[in-house]
């Protein structure tokens, strides 16, 4: 039964984001559009026959979405590993010719698939999911899910320097979108399913439910939303349970407990924060520079860009650094176990920035999470190894440095400081590391923000011609409060037991057009001269004000409340008294509509 909630004005996430990703003509994205049906207003009032149906189905389906996303992400990861083993072999050694050929051939195949069959599969998947939420009513086609799975698996298995997490996020969101559409959910619910599935996909990929939930809130939804939080949590937990059933419940990385016995060690972590902030800025600027230039090239070059990027990655691998290929989780593990010299680690970090920049800018499907973690881990391990060599008195653990480095890059590059802290805790299962993580992440975040005002996904959004909300933008916003528009009390304050005649006399004496009336129980009422006149016309002059006032009262408003909280009341009341929170009934000042508007205009 078609509930008729989908509007004819709905378009698809793929149609726009696909076009933006690859500048595709209309016919190329036609396949990814949903069957647009004319609006059919239901003859039956759904709210009457099943008022809570959507809400409850939403919760039940969140669990199914979590399970299915978890299963798909497990299969996705296996597919990447199989393809890597089949194409690149078991061991990546420099000097092997297949290190060059495989990424080029895989790049050609992926480019052809993206151009001919799955145009919406290009790119990371985070912004596409976000666009689905805010622009396309949560619509992500099943074809996109399939395309993302296949093309990302081929690209990552073929050695492109990208990660599986962002595609997993989009696969999860796609699964949620498909299922919710099949169940005929309302448009409002359809929109909310995208972040639910995104959290499930990311949680399964990372084996980190809290980080996934926080990331979806910080980056995908862009604001705290109570409406979706319960379902996001349910789906993330379900998918992680599924993933752990297959991969085990061990944390992704195991490092020894970190005990900061010497405060100088925190200084060392602070150095890591500064260097991480600088590296994130370099990485961000490189992507911000190359990506739009490649996207503005003629369309035929899209068939060539991915293989050429593969050639670049392959050459880096061929000439001594095959570790930069693929997501690189094994290499991160090796770095944590101190298997590299600090110079090698530093070289790997820099080359990974280069390889990821060319891989991602070419439009190859794949994510930014794993490369970010890789670069952070290499930088952290490099600094840790260096300090361990030159400052043997400090009890430095290379693994801990690598782990903190991951969080540092995550916070500074993706601009998700809260997620970064929990991500480190979850992937290591090590709470003892929290102090260095918070310190280094905060420093890196501040350094990165001062050098590069916009978060990377925001940069991509603007490059794609979209305008989506982000928590980073909210952090930048100056929130005005009532205290910013507050004026000292300048109107007469009259007691409610005053007569109409006395009140009029008071107004005449002060030449005021408006006045405040103090009522019993710390309540307030504001009145204009005109309202007083109309009351006086129908009542005796000796009538007490309290007896003729309308029943409503001015709501309690305090100086710390947002400035816009006054707006709904200014239509009714000519002036609003702003009260002191500590002293009930005491007035801090007043605001009028003109005060509020002039304060907004001043910003």
């Amino acid at each position: 039964m078609q509930t008729g909630r989908m509007s004819t004005t709905e378009t698809t996430a793929e149609s726009t984001t696909g076009a933006q990703e690859g500048q595709l003509p209309e016919h190329a994205v036609k396949d990814s559009m949903p069957s647009v049906e004319p609006l059919q207003m239901s003859q039956i009032d759904m709210l009457k026959i099943a008022p809570t149906r959507d809400e409850r189905l939403f919760l039940v389906l969140s669990i199914f979405i979590g399970i299915i996303s978890g299963l798909l992400v497990v299969s996705f990861r296996i597919a990447i590993n199989w393809i890597q083993t089949l194409t690149l072999g078991s061991v990546l050694q420099p000097g092997l010719l297949r290190l060059i050929f495989v990424p080029v051939i895989m790049g050609a195949v992926v480019a052809a698939l993206c151009q001919w069959f799955f145009p919406a599969a290009r790119g990371s998947g985070v912004n596409q999911t976000k666009a689905a939420l805010y622009i396309y009513n949560g619509y992500i086609s099943f074809k996109t899910v399939i395309g993302k799975f296949i093309t990302s698996a081929l690209a990552l298995g073929g050695g492109f320097s990208l990660g599986p997490e962002d595609p997993s996020l989009q696969i999860g969101a796609g699964v949620a979108s498909v299922i919710s559409r099949r169940l005929g959910m309302s448009r409002q619910r359809l929109r909310l399913f995208a972040p639910v599935g995104a959290a499930a996909g990311l949680a399964a990929a990372f084996n980190a439910p809290i980080a996934a939930i926080l990331f979806v809130i910080e980056e995908v939804i862009g604001r705290w939303s109570a409406a979706v939080l319960g379902s996001v949590v349910l789906s993330a937990i379900s998918s992680v349970v599924v993933a752990r059933r297959f991969w085990g419940s061990e944390p992704m990385f195991q490092v020894p407990a970190v005990t900061v016995t010497d405060s100088r060690e925190l200084l060392a972590y602070a150095v890591l924060g500064v260097i991480g902030g600088l590296a994130a800025s370099i990485f961000s600027r490189a992507l911000g520079y190359l990506r739009p230039r490649l996207r503005n090239l003629p369309r035929w070059t899209f068939f060539v860009q991915t293989p050429v990027a593969g050639l670049g990655v392959g050459l880096i691998a061929f000439f001594g650094f095959p570790q930069i290929m693929g997501p690189g989780y094994e290499v991160m593990n090796q770095a944590m176990h101190g298997q590299f010299l600090w110079t090698t680690l530093l070289a790997l970090a820099l080359l990974k920035i280069l390889a990821t920049t060319i891989s991602f800018s070419s439009g190859t499907p794949g994510g930014m999470f794993a490369p970010t973690l890789f670069i952070g881990a290499m930088l952290g391990a490099s600094i840790g190894t260096f300090e361990k060599m030159h400052f043997p008195n400090l009890h430095i653990t290379v693994g801990a440095y690598a782990l903190v480095g991951m969080g540092v890059l995550f916070a500074a590059f993706l601009r998700v400081p809260l997620t970064s802290v929990f991500m480190v805790l979850e992937v290591s299962g090590n709470y003892s590391i929290i102090l260095p993580v918070i310190l280094a992440n905060t420093i890196a975040y501040l350094v990165s923000r001062s050098l590069q005002p916009h978060a990377i996904f925001e940069v991509f959004t603007h490059q794609d011609g979209l305008d989506l909300p982000s928590m980073e933008e909210q952090r930048e916003e100056v929130v005005l409060h009532l205290e910013d528009a507050l004026r000292p009390l300048s109107v007469p304050v009259i007691d409610a037991h005053t007569t109409l005649k006395a009140a009029a006399g008071e107004l005449d004496a002060t030449h005021a057009d408006v006045f405040l009336i103090r009522l019993p129980g710390h309540a307030w009422y504001s009145m204009t001269r005109a309202e007083l006149g109309s009351l006086a016309a129908v009542s005796a002059p000796e009538t007490v004000l309290a007896n003729v006032l309308k029943p409503d009262r001015i709501p309690l408003l305090f100086p710390d409340l947002p400035l816009d909280s006054a707006l709904p009341h200014l239509a009714r009341w000519p002036i609003l008294p702003i009260q002191n929170r500590a002293s009930r009934g005491a007035i801090e000042g007043t605001v009028t509509l003109a005060d509020v508007l002039s304060r907004y205009q001043a910003t």
């Binding site: 039964m1 039956i44 009032d45 009457k48 026959i49 099943a50 008022p51 809570t52 149906r53 409850r56 189905l57 039940v60 389906l61 199914f64 399970i67 299915i68 299963l71 798909l72 497990v74 299969s75 296996i78 590993n81 199989w82 083993t85 078991s90 061991v91 050694q93 299922i179 099949r182 169940l183 005929g184 297959f246 061990e250 195991q254 020894p256 094994e330 593990n333 090796q334 944590m336 176990h337 101190g338 298997q339 590299f340 010299l341 190894t385 361990k388 653990t397 290379v398 693994g399």
Partner: protein
């Protein structure tokens, strides 16, 4: 129990609405069932794929580990590094492979990488004996003595799997070899005495006794060799060791006894450690004992030997002062020459005051004379050895006695 209705209607429904509601319930139930079915099918498929994948991973990990171990056995450390890294890439956190990889890095000469890797393993398991041992070896190779000693001790007192006691003893003996190499003999002796207490088997004690000898602790070595030599069946190497240690300590009587027994007890099945040395030292011990005026000898025989030693020493002195005994060619500094010259002058005075001819009867009448005579003999042999070079024959035996006259009979 109160149940919450899935579909709650606030106002009575019309027949058409009731029908629509039934239809909706049916539709949602079927949809949820179909989602459930899809989930089940997907779960089965994923499980099958995962099982195949896991099997492949563990097979590959085992295969690469075997290759790495083979490469290590064939001293191809560089290849072993690649193979073991591949094995670790397939298998999650296999501690034995990690240690082998670190070992391969060390064998490949990549000492810094190996040290960093072992340090990381150590951070995870600081009490692990094997990791500490490898770190000790790496530190020793890099000349970091204090770090090497620290890790050796941590290895000795660390955790070992299975054959803990044996491995700890092996590590202790390795530490001793390192200490001997570093000429820290006192430390080595202490470790060896502990090792001797930890393994009281014959081979174990023989090994410790041999190392005590290397650690300049012949007295302790003699004690252990002697204890083992007293066991049945008799171990020729214990007899030989006892004889050699006694010889080293100038206990020529004991040395002669044990070296002789060792030669007699040895056979192709039980060879001596150094037969030639044993024979040579036995000859020397016999020569010493043949000339030594032992207090245990009958008086006449002892005094006869004193007279013989006196004559030999006198001739040695005269030959040395007349230049016929040859001069010592060993380079000597000025102070040494002056000292030797003064020593020879003093010795000359003593020989001038000595009796031109000493007899057994004279010695029998003067008990003090025997002692002063032998002192003159010993001083003469030692002084002439310094000035005119090492003596041979009976003079050489007298010189040995002069070095430690009280221990000969021990």
């Amino acid at each position: 129990m109160r149940t919450i209705p899935f579909f709650r209607a606030s106002t009575p429904l019309t027949p058409a609405e009731r029908s629509a509601k039934r239809h909706l319930v049916l539709q949602d139930t079927l949809a949820l069932l179909s989602v459930f079915a899809v989930t089940c099918v997907l779960a089965v498929l994923t499980w099958l794929i995962f099982r195949s994948y896991s099997q492949h991973q563990s097979d590959a990990a085992a295969r690469w580990k075997r290759r790495g171990e083979d490469a290590l056995r064939h001293h191809n450390a560089q290849a072993a590094v690649y193979d073991l890294r591949a094995a670790l890439g397939y298998g999650q956190e296999d501690p034995s492979t990690e240690v082998e990889l670190a070992d391969a890095l060390a064998q490949a000469g990549r000492l810094q990488e190996a040290t960093v890797y072992f340090n990381t393993l150590w951070e995870k398991e600081p009490g692990k004996g094997n990791i500490n041992l490898q770190l000790a070896r790496l530190a020793a190779r890099q000349g970091q003595t204090s770090a090497a000693l620290e890790h050796y001790h941590e290895a000795i007192y660390g955790v070992w799997e299975g054959d803990g006691a044996i491995r700890r003893r092996q590590v202790r003996l390795e530490l001793v070899r390192y200490l001997i190499q570093q000429k820290r003999f006192a430390d080595a002796r202490g470790e060896l005495l502990i090792a001797a207490g930890n393994d009281t088997t014959t081979p174990g004690l023989l090994e410790v006794a041999g190392m005590l000898a290397e650690a300049h602790a012949p007295s302790d070595a003699l004690q252990i060799y002697r204890e083992v030599a007293g066991r049945r069946p008799v171990e020729p190497q214990a007899l030989e060791g006892t004889g050699q240690m006694a010889f080293m300590l100038a206990r020529y009587r004991t040395a002669r006894t044990y070296l002789d027994r060792a030669l007699n007890a040895s056979s192709p099945a039980h060879p001596l450690m150094d037969r030639a040395l044993t024979e040579k030292n036995l000859r020397i011990a016999n020569a010493v004992m043949a000339i030594y005026p032992s207090p245990e000898l009958p008086q006449r025989e002892r005094l006869r030997r004193v007279v013989r030693a006196y004559e030999l020493a006198r001739q040695r002195y005269l030959a040395c002062t007349n230049g016929t005994a040859g001069q010592n060619n060993t380079p000597q500094n000025g102070n040494m020459q002056i000292q030797n010259s003064e020593q020879m002058t003093a010795l000359g005075n003593r020989w001038q005051n000595a009796r031109p001819r000493l007899t057994v009867a004279a010695l029998m009448n003067n008990a003090q004379l025997e002692q002063t005579t032998m002192q003159l003999v010993y001083d003469t042999e030692q002084a002439t050895a310094q000035v005119c070079g090492q003596p041979t024959g009976e003079d050489a035996a007298l010189l040995r006695i002069a070095a430690s006259p009280d221990s000969i009979d021990q």
